[in-house]
């Protein structure tokens, strides 16, 4: 699954550590999601969407 997390984070000038803190996950988790090594669960995807005030499909897109 592709995502725009890195772009959205960069637009706000947030560090991975800051985003991780806001999401209450580890920095490794943010990095794994950004690099596409890990697809977040639905609750975490909703949390990310709420934080960036966007819809889930505006952040994550199905690569199939």
């Amino acid at each position: 699954m592709n995502n725009r997390l890195r772009i959205l984070r960069a637009e706000r000038g947030w560090s991975q550590a800051f985003l991780a803190d806001r999401l209450e996950v580890s920095r490794q988790s943010v990095n794994a999601i950004e690099t596409g090594k890990y697809d977040p669960s639905l609750p975490l995807a909703f949390k990310i969407a709420r934080l960036f005030e966007k819809r889930i499909e505006e952040i994550f897109e199905d690569s199939a």
């Binding site: 490794q28 950004e34 890990y38 977040p40």
Partner: protein, 139 residues
């Protein structure tokens, strides 16, 4: 909750593992000393033989407890992957050993080999994932 890159569940797990391992070293030392020099018989012998197994079993319980308590889903996935690698290595080795023992003159695996194999491969799998996830500075 996350503190300095490590979750609270991870910190609790590390503390419990350290306690289990300390208890293991203590019990294996006592058991070896008493069985070798005290020559216990009957149920005493069984008691001292099985005593070091308790901290090891406790350690395995702590792994399950960690997976239950971990709130960071990615960290949980990393641990589960490492457990699968350890379990796969362990089961694969046992199957190979059992077939060799059944059809060839090869003897059984040395004592505690499977224990070391499981935790060794589990540790390597965790380290490999940590290396892969390591970021050279924040991007």
């Amino acid at each position: 909750m996350i503190c300095s890159g490590r979750t609270l569940a991870r910190k609790r797990y590390s503390r419990r593992v350290a306690t289990s391992m300390s208890a293991y070293i203590l019990t294996i030392g006592c058991a070896a000393l008493i069985v070798r020099h005290g020559h216990p018989q009957g149920w005493h012998l069984y008691f001292w033989s099985l005593l070091p197994a308790i901290p090891v079993i406790w350690f395995i319980v702590q792994m399950g407890r960690y997976l239950h308590e971990e709130t960071d889903e990615y960290q949980r996935v990393v641990t589960v992957r490492a457990l699968l690698v350890g379990t796969g290595a362990l089961l694969g080795t046992i199957v190979v050993s059992d077939f060799l023992r059944s059809f060839t003159p090869v003897g059984p695996l040395p004592p505690f080999f499977t224990f070391v194999l499981f935790f060794g491969t589990f540790g390597i799998a965790q380290a490999a994932q940590a290396m892969r996830d390591r970021v050279a500075g924040d991007e």
